[in-house]
Symmetry: C2
Subunit: 455 residues, 2 copies
């Protein structure tokens, strides 16, 4: 719990324009006062550029970072990519996952992310048996986040099957998926109930997808989430094949099935939602649910462009995630929501700049269950991210276009400072306690050696 006073050249307080000369007082890790138009008091930490609320990365599979560059030039489809991802998942253990996740989470923090939603399904040992501590893997991930100053919502994911059989039952998990499965939703609920939250860790529920969870299990998970007042995320309609199989087996789209089982509600987030239709969007809107788009992953995996014009028209909030971590750059994700709709629809200016910023901040935090984060406001946690407005990328836009410059010109490399709970975790563009690139190189290299050794 940290105390400090920040003084921001420009800070986004939620309006259409940033405020100038903003003093932010931090007491015990929370924002105690916000005063625009104020001179810097002695001892204040001066933040040049634009200070934003800390960014929320609403959908992450941390270990996928090890695939970056190693699969992205390859051919095939989502499904061939997945095979390689499974080989990697096969060699993880709590120690190696801690090391990898710590490096990946540090890359995120250095990119301005202060809270991540980790959609976590590598729970068990490779043969499917539980670790001595059934939550050893999620503990490792949570510890990794904490070690680099990142808040985390552990979206603990139920994963029970390998696809939908024609009769609507689930196909049994394949050998490489065994470690993802708790065997039943009841066993999942028991394990997750044993995981406490607090401090930098929140716990949410996740349904992997209609491919991996049957409707009865969905209902169990939805009940658990409702009873525990937790957020609930699910991969939804990422691929047309998933829709086809779901409709054939369950007489409804993935969202229709999720809705029937009670999953939809204000705490529900549909991840991807690339291949949803008007009816699906109406279900989301009626429930007050959220979508999480992962545009750089959807580009990489050839998923397609989601119907963001439908979400906008229906008032379904959009959040963003770096998902497979082909790229870790929330600015790129936010602008891609707009740019990919431009490609699909032929019109500019579909999503307001502030809407795109909210996707990466307040709306992202909300869908991860952090109601006291994502806005620079009194009482909220003191999580802020400052970007350089005078880098080679951002220079020239001017103060009155600072928000647009953040969304449309900045990259993760423009993040100069990050505070989490008032702690100064990134300064001068570098994480203060970890050499991120070196840790990534080391841990990823070791993992692939293990994959090779495993044959």
């Amino acid at each position: 719990m940290f105390d400090c006073v920040l003084h921001c050249e420009l800070a986004w307080l939620g309006d259409d324009q940033p405020a100038h000369d903003v003093r932010i007082d931090v007491v015990q890790g929370r924002i105690d006062a916000v005063a625009p138009g104020t001179a810097a008091p002695p001892g204040a930490i001066a933040l040049r550029g634009l200070t934003l609320p800390g960014l929320a990365n609403a959908h992450s599979h941390a270990f996928h970072r090890a695939l970056r560059g190693r699969t992205h030039g390859d051919g095939g489809t989502f499904w061939t990519w997945r095979d390689r991802m499974y080989r990697l998942a096969g060699v993880l253990d709590p120690d190696s996952y801690f090391s990898l996740a710590r490096a990946v989470f540090a890359e995120m923090v250095q990119a301005g992310v202060t809270c991540v939603g980790e959609f976590h399904y590598v729970h068990h040992q490779p043969d499917g048996t539980s670790y001595d501590d059934p939550n050893a893997m999620s503990d490792a991930i949570a510890a990794a986040a904490g070690s680099v100053g990142l808040r985390i919502t552990l979206l603990d994911c139920c994963y029970l099957g390998a696809g939908i059989a024609p009769d609507g039952t689930l196909l049994p998990v394949q050998p490489e998926q065994r470690r993802f499965s708790d065997g039943s939703a009841a066993a999942w609920a028991e394990r997750v109930s044993a995981r406490s939250e607090g401090g930098h860790v929140a716990v949410g529920a996740a349904i992997h997808s209609v491919r991996a969870v049957d409707p009865a299990a969905m209902a169990t998970i939805a009940r658990w989430a409702a009873n525990h007042d937790r957020v609930l995320h699910a991969h939804v309609s990422e691929q047309p094949a998933e829709n086809d199989q779901c409709r054939a087996a369950h007489e409804g789209s993935p969202l229709a099935v999720l809705n029937r089982t009670g999953a939809l509600g204000p705490k529900f987030t549909a991840v991807h939602a690339t291949h949803v239709d008007d009816t699906d969007v109406a279900l989301l809107a009626a429930a007050g649910a959220t979508v999480c788009l992962c545009p750089t992953t959807e580009r990489d995996l050839a998923d397609g462009i989601g119907p963001t014009e439908l979400f906008r028209a229906a008032g379904v909030p959009i959040t963003v995630g770096s998902d497979s971590h082909a790229v870790i750059d929330l600015f790129e994700e936010a602008r891609a929501v707009e740019l990919d709709e431009r490609l699909a629809g032929g019109t500019r200016g579909n999503h307001d700049v502030t809407t795109l910023l909210r996707a990466a901040t307040a709306d992202g935090h909300r869908c991860l269950g952090w109601s006291d984060a994502g806005r620079i406001a009194v009482g909220n946690v003191a999580d802020v991210t400052t970007i350089d407005l005078r880098s080679v990328r951002t220079a020239g836009a001017g103060a009155d276009k600072a928000l647009a410059a953040a969304v449309f010109a900045a990259t993760a490399a423009d993040v100069t400072d990050v505070f989490v709970g008032g702690e100064h975790v990134v300064a001068a563009g570098q994480h203060r306690t970890i050499d991120v690139a070196t840790e990534l190189e080391l841990t990823i290299g070791e993992l692939w050696h293990a994959v090779e050794a495993a044959g």
Copy 2:
């Protein structure tokens, strides 16, 4: 003309894999020897990471950089964006364009670009009269490139009209377009013929588009290019409206009209080519012509996704350009060729990694008329760009995936060193003679003050 010896940890010599421990001897600005698997001799400059041929940015309008962040959050279409661009163009003069272009070109060099194709149409004074030196503006641009170590092909652009009238004639230029027009193709040819090339400067021809050049003028320009053995570029089918107007007036697509007038050939490059069809692509292929895609601009301007699968199938080489400079990052452009096709087609691995790298290097240089650049090979100019393979973005891919990491993970921020003609122009990621961001901030700020003053 510089002499030095470089020693590259990894260098791409055109093969599917980079070579290790590559010694490159530079004599008088050219590559005199290339020796893979060689220890570093005393005095060699060690280049850690992956060394590529210098990048070619095949389509640029330098002054558009001043729009970055200032227009990209706006609504409307390509056409509303263009209005704002015209206001900016209206205040340029040779001095201010030199200053702006110098900063923009320095941003490019720092991003690893060693050769730019500047599609140049702001030739005259705002009222359309010639400067005392009719090539004062192109001289300013060429000098700006030279001042920061960048090779340039001045694609001097003929621009005569404001659109196609129903009878097939050109509408007269609008007041804000007067300074783009030479009045006739003959006058254009006379002016361009007076512009010498040599050293870091090549001169090519450009037809703005079927919207701005009538078929008779196209024929004059095509003859000029053929007689002078120069490259010829044209904006082609960027917008569906352009196709519709062209077909209505000329009974053919823009490429069909260009073909009739003799413009197509091995030195012809169709820029954008977003809305071309099979017949158009067959024309390009038969002519041995090239396309230049500008994916980040095409995203920003809501142009759409070009049919890269047709270019690939027909063997039409693809090059890339940053065009409006919403982004200056040739790695982003190269990967976007692939990623946007994935979005459109639903399949990964459409363009080989080496094809994408050639787009940004050898093919780009060739379409700009530099046959002795774009490959690390004996006799070529000593233009190379080194990227860090151990940054937060690139770490973990491993040496055998270094080329894929360059295309799919690297950004302009990963460029550590750039040599042009053996001169070390970028070191440790920074241009050695200009503070790029400061110059951008200064010159762009001054220009917008001028726009405001002009009312």
